[in-house]
């Protein structure tokens, strides 16, 4: 890229401004019956007030109705997969933290599972229980962020601030556990890195009833309001066949009625020992997806209670793992159910202590490919709602 290209943002739709809604191109299109149709190209730029991150959507609008929406991604492409080729297996764990930064715990877990599959490491049971507890708490925090930003996008800023009540408490628990508020580096190949502090489990069990109350208050505040229903119902309808053939997973697919949750149907770790339900939607619109996320938070609380009851003392790291893990040459793929869908990591090893190739199968990337199909025919203000209901995190989309 030379110096002149640093000044302009070019796109296939023509020269467009970064932030302002400036009319740059008016194309005179002719409809099939001969009447002229005015079409505007509006750039919803990489920096916009919706909090989901850096995504640029080049929108063709006819009046207020979106005729074509094309997302342009890559504004956060940091080359993590290339960087990982020059790090040891343990040094890659902090990099995976920064991929899905709203859910660092389960991204670490997906990567660790892949390394364990490749190297044949068996994780002790207490570590598996700790992984489940922290991952379910992380799922709660991630869904609160998603519900909050959905309500913030529809205008209910108060509900956004209320949703952070649960999220901040979860982050405080994680800070007591491993010292960091956002990027934890906690789940590592072979187990987890630190033992829980004294009284941590009791504090969580004491907090869970308060969290349920807070969540039902948020439910009444936002979803009980008919404006929220009016803004979310019927927006971004996705059919079940499309969800499967486009590779959607997580609440996006479950909101359309696809009954597929890796914790139940391709189960891993100690999940078979817990009794929980998987919320399934029926209409496939933004309302169903948001409700799926809300009910998943309740189910996560159930899992946490059962896990804390069942956990036994024991080692938290597998024995005899060297600091430089050098697995056998070959490849391995393993996946978990993250808050966004099925998150998988594919690792190729050539016998050296560094991965030969690391590929992250990110659910947010696959779900975001649905945006052009879902946003067509809706208004420009609903475009933001559709983007929010797909719940993208751009660290994961762009890697």
């Amino acid at each position: 890229m030379n110096a002149s290209s640093i000044d302009r943002i070019t796109s296939d739709a023509g020269e467009v401004d970064a932030v302002t809604l400036k009319i740059t191109e008016r194309t005179k299109k002719i409809a099939t019956d001969g009447t002229p149709v005015d079409e505007l190209v509006v750039n919803v730029g990489p920096s916009h007030p919706s909090t989901h991150g850096v995504c640029r959507v080049i929108t063709h609008v006819d009046g207020e109705i979106v005729t074509k929406a094309e997302p342009v991604i890559g504004y956060l492409h940091r080359g993590v997969e290339k960087i990982a080729e020059n790090r040891t297996y343990l040094q890659v764990v902090p990099l995976t933290d920064r991929l899905d930064y709203v859910g660092s715990m389960y991204t670490n877990w997906a990567y660790s599972r892949s390394v364990e599959r490749l190297a044949g490491i068996r994780v002790p049971e207490r570590a598996e229980y700790l992984r489940v507890i922290t991952c379910e708490m992380q799922r709660m925090a991630s869904h609160m962020m998603s519900l909050g930003s959905t309500s913030g996008d529809s205008g209910a800023t108060t509900a956004f601030i209320y949703s952070f009540d649960i999220r901040e408490r979860v982050i405080e628990f994680f800070e007591d556990l491993c010292g960091s508020r956002l990027t934890y580096n906690y789940v590592r190949p072979g187990g987890v890195s630190m033992e829980v502090p004294d009284g941590w489990f009791d504090d969580i069990l004491a907090w869970l009833p308060i969290a349920r109350q807070s969540l039902s208050e948020l439910d009444r505040l936002f979803f009980g309001n008919h404006i929220a229903r009016g803004r979310l119902k019927g927006i971004g309808v996705l059919s079940a066949e499309d969800a499967v053939s486009w590779g959607a997973s997580g609440p996006v697919a479950r909101g359309s009625g696809v009954n597929w949750d890796l914790r139940k149907h391709d189960t891993y770790s100690v999940y078979p020992r817990f009794d929980f339900d998987v919320p399934i939607g029926s209409n496939g619109d933004a309302y169903d997806r948001a409700r799926c996320r809300l009910f998943e938070v309740y189910e996560s609380m159930r899992i946490i209670e059962q896990a804390i009851e069942q956990i036994e003392p024991g080692p938290i790291k597998a024995d005899g793992i060297p600091r430089l893990i050098a697995p056998r040459p070959g490849d391995a793929y393993d996946h978990i159910e993250s808050a966004r869908g099925s998150l998988g990591v594919y690792l190729v090893s050539d016998g050296s202590p560094r991965p030969y190739r690391m590929k992250v199968r990110s659910p947010a990337f696959c779900n975001l490919a649905l945006l052009p199909m879902l946003a067509e025919g809706h208004t420009l203000s609903d475009l933001v709602i559709v983007l929010g209901s797909l719940d993208p995190v751009f660290g994961e989309v762009d890697r």
């Binding site: 890229m1 290209s5 640093i6 000044d7 302009r8 943002i9 401004d17 970064a18 932030v19 302002t20 730029g45 990489p46 920096s47 916009h48 007030p49 909090t51 991150g53 850096v54 890559g74 504004y75 956060l76 492409h77 940091r78 080359g79 993590v80 290339k82 960087i83 020059n86 902090p94 990099l95 920064r98 930064y101 709203v102 962020m145 956004f160 601030i161 952070f164 009540d165 901040e168 982050i171 508020r181 956002l182 990027t183 751009f394 660290g395």
Partner: protein, 188 residues
């Protein structure tokens, strides 16, 4: 004496409620206590920026309120990794801000490239390659309290500037200042 104390004294006294101060201190007080911010949040630090604006840490009590429009703001908080594809957008938005404007670089990625400094082909190593930065906050991600401290440091820096062109007041900073945009530069 700080302007706020003078105001208190003026209201108490029976001398008629008159304050004598300089235009500079009035301007610095007004500018420093209401720094509206443009949250240029790209990555993980944006989550801490949002958490800093909400109830638990409450940025708003310091006068810093996030506004999404560059024309309304005084300070741009660059939070997160800036890549080569994003750099023209950040520069464009900075140019659209009205004078006087300041930049806070939040988080290791905006300060120096952070964890992506080595081996990345698309990351800009520090936002001071494209913008003049006033305050650097280290951390990955920094705590919201660090961000509030950055606002206080920025107020001190604003206090060194004068509305009379060309006049600058010397102020002692507790930490050595890095040269903006200069790799390995010493404090001059």
């Amino acid at each position: 004496m700080a302007l706020v104390d003078k105001l208190g004294a003026a209201l108490d006294s029976s001398g008629g409620g008159i304050i004598l101060t300089t235009v500079d201190s009035l301007a610095d007080w007004a500018r420093g206590k209401s720094l509206w911010s443009m949250p240029m949040g790209t990555a993980c630090c944006a989550m801490e920026l949002i958490a800093g604006s909400f109830s638990k840490f409450d940025f708003d009590r310091h006068g810093t309120f996030p506004r999404p429009d560059p024309r309304h703001v005084d300070v741009m908080i660059v939070a997160g990794t800036i890549t080569r594809k994003m750099a023209p957008a950040v520069k464009r938005i900075y140019e659209q801000m009205a004078e006087p404007k300041w930049v806070i670089a939040m988080g290791n990625c905006a300060v120096s490239g952070g964890i992506f400094y080595y081996d990345s082909y698309s990351v800009i190593r520090g936002v001071d390659e494209i913008l003049p930065v006033d305050v650097y906050i280290a951390g990955c991600p920094p705590r919201p309290e660090s961000m509030q401290d950055a606002v206080f440091q920025l107020r001190e820096k604003i206090a060194t500037e004068s509305i009379a062109p060309g006049k600058k007041r010397e102020v002692e900073f507790s930490l050595p200042m890095p040269g903006a945009g200069v790799r390995g530069g010493d404090a001059e």
